[in-house]
């Protein structure tokens, strides 16, 4: 049976300083430090167990082209179990590990609120008239892209090749549901007049089917094999091919549908027959076709639209719900995701505008088109690109996504709670609670361990190799009843 689809989402935000000189690395540091100074005692990230150069295909390139880990930059762990840091000249938040897609949605929303709070705290430190802006988007419109990555726990025993073949059709076609929309095109030689609007922020930047890279020659399936948990039992599928969504429904369906399909791949019921002949070509074809009519070629020789492939994936997922149940993703959340996914596909088929309250690219396109019509603007007008950028602006009074009528499916109370409290149902609970209770005695923390200073040598490292151990159900009372980390460690050892 499929294992629980523990998941998380990590977002690199666009950053811009106006009214004073700054570079994006120092601006990102200022942003994060301003938040930490106002809200947290800083606990550093522990890099001992990071191996981003390990490849799921079975070799390691640590000595060759491992992505650089910028250990000198700001890197902090928050009491909600998240990591808040500077990555490649962007502020980035990785949510804590979540048991369901819905939890991950709440923590992704909490991350937005943390960035918004950071913007206000950092702007207060800048000279009069200067301000710091962040955008939850994935491209600047000039060929520079930054990611919104998803992570899913997958059983190690599942052959990696099966995952690659069977999930790729979803990664290519899910853009119709979860694309965040983009004015223009960033492929060399394609002008905004040629391609005024497309479904995805990211599709222009994918050049390979499979690979280890994340910053150039980006692959549709990333092979980074760095599970941050017991490597003999688990993989962490690191997905770099999605857009950052402003629509809460889109984030939920993005994480939920992918979780369900991965569970099906684990149970080996998804099948190989939807394999695409050329995924890299197809991902662009799909993104560039706002009519949703273009056919992509399957390896079997069949041609189908992205929407048709999404329908087939959904129907198989519905069948899986009936035959196997959705325990791996949570029955209730899984059913909700299937219902939303179906409603969106039906709406896209009937009249895309009917899902403008759920689908980012539809909401954005509608706005851009209506504005262009009202003012008689042609494709390429800077005002249309400004609308695109401002859709993702995290300033409350400027954010257009907040004004286009997107459904809100989280509550303000749960998002606020998630800004400072960890989820109850993963090991992030242990991390977050310990950080909140003993910030001065935690020397470092990362995904799969914490290092405590209990007042005498040596430092105590607590390994956390199981994502579902250290939950509230098992450690809440131990943490509550311990006055010091030494007491806690004694109880844990007992």
């Amino acid at each position: 049976m499929a294992i629980p689809k523990v998941c998380g989402i990590e977002t690199e935000y666009g950053i811009l300083v106006r009214g004073t000189d700054s570079n994006p690395v120092s601006a990102s540091s200022l942003l994060i430090n301003a938040y930490l100074a106002a809200n947290h005692r800083k606990v550093g990230w522990d890099f001992d167990d990071e191996h981003p150069g390990s490849d799921a295909r079975g070799f390691s390139v640590d000595d060759l082209l491992a992505p650089a880990i910028e250990t000198h930059l700001v890197n902090a762990v928050l009491t909600n179990g998240a990591r808040y840091y500077v990555d490649h000249a962007h502020p980035e938040i990785s949510t804590p590990e979540c048991l369901t897609a819905r939890d991950a949605l709440v923590f992704d929303r909490a991350a937005e609120e943390i960035v918004w709070a950071s913007m206000q705290a950092a702007t207060a430190l800048l000279p009069e008239g200067a301000e710091i802006l962040c955008h939850k988007n994935n491209s600047d419109g000039k060929g520079n892209s930054y990611g919104c990555h998803e992570n899913y726990l997958v059983a190690r025993e599942v052959p990696f090749g099966r995952i690659v073949h069977q999930i790729t059709p979803h990664f290519v076609t899910r853009q119709v549901v979860i694309g965040a929309g983009k004015v223009g095109c960033e492929l060399p030689g394609v002008s905004t007049a040629d391609q005024p609007f497309q479904l995805s922020q990211r599709a222009d930047f994918f050049e390979e089917e499979v690979g280890l890279e994340t910053t150039l020659k980006r692959p549709i399936v990333n092979t980074r094999d760095e599970p941050h948990c017991d490597p003999t039992k688990y993989r962490r599928l690191h997905v770099i091919v999605g857009d950052a969504n402003m629509s809460e429904t889109a984030t939920l369906v993005k994480l939920g549908a992918t979780s369900i399909l991965l569970a099906m791949i684990e149970d080996d019921v998804l099948g190989d027959d939807l394999t695409l002949a050329n995924p890299v070509t197809a991902i662009r074809q799909v993104s560039h076709d706002v009519t949703l009519q273009r056919l992509v070629l399957l390896r079997t020789g069949r041609r189908a639209t992205a929407l048709e492939i999404q329908w087939e994936l959904l129907e198989r997922a519905q069948k899986y719900e009936r035959s196997h149940g959705l325990a791996a993703v949570g029955h209730e959340v899984g059913s909700e995701v299937l219902r939303l996914w179906e409603g969106i596909l039906a709406g896209l088929e009937r009249d895309p505008d009917s899902v403008a309250h759920q689908v980012d690219w539809v909401a954005k396109r509608r706005l851009v088109q209506a504005y262009a019509d009202r003012h008689g603007l042609k494709p390429g007008d800077a005002r249309l690109k400004a609308l695109d950028l401002q859709y993702h602006d995290l300033r409350r009074d400027k954010c257009l996504a907040r004004r286009v009528g997107l459904d809100v499916i989280t509550t303000e109370a749960e998002v606020r709670h998630a800004m400072t409290n960890p989820p109850d149902t993963t090991r992030a609970y242990f991390r977050g609670r310990c950080l909140a209770k003993w910030p001065d005695q935690i020397v470092a923390a990362n995904w799969d361990s914490m290092v405590f200073d209990i007042g005498r040598d040596p430092l105590q490292r607590v390994p956390m190799m199981e994502p579902l151990r250290g939950t509230a159900a098992t450690v809440a009372s131990l943490i509550d009843e311990s006055d010091t980390p030494a007491e806690l460690l004694a109880r844990l050892g007992a």
Partner: protein
């Protein structure tokens, strides 16, 4: 092209969804349209004052 849209085999679930959802989404669509009109009325006060400069200055470093 139209005939291909019809070719997908409808499942019981899908047929029901389409029938049931139609009235609700029509109402939602009208509400969204009204909201869009309101937004267009107020948007110039929300948009960056110099769109061209803003778009030009919006340059990011590539990330992951």
């Amino acid at each position: 092209m139209a005939e291909r849209t019809q070719k997908q085999k409808p499942t019981p679930g899908r047929t029901e969804e389409t029938v049931d959802a139609a009235p609700a989404t029509t109402g939602g669509g009208e509400k969204l349209k009204a909201e869009l009109d309101d937004l267009l009325d107020e948007i110039d006060g929300v948009l960056e004052t110099n769109a061209e400069d803003f778009v030009k200055s919006y340059v990011q470093k590539g990330g992951q």
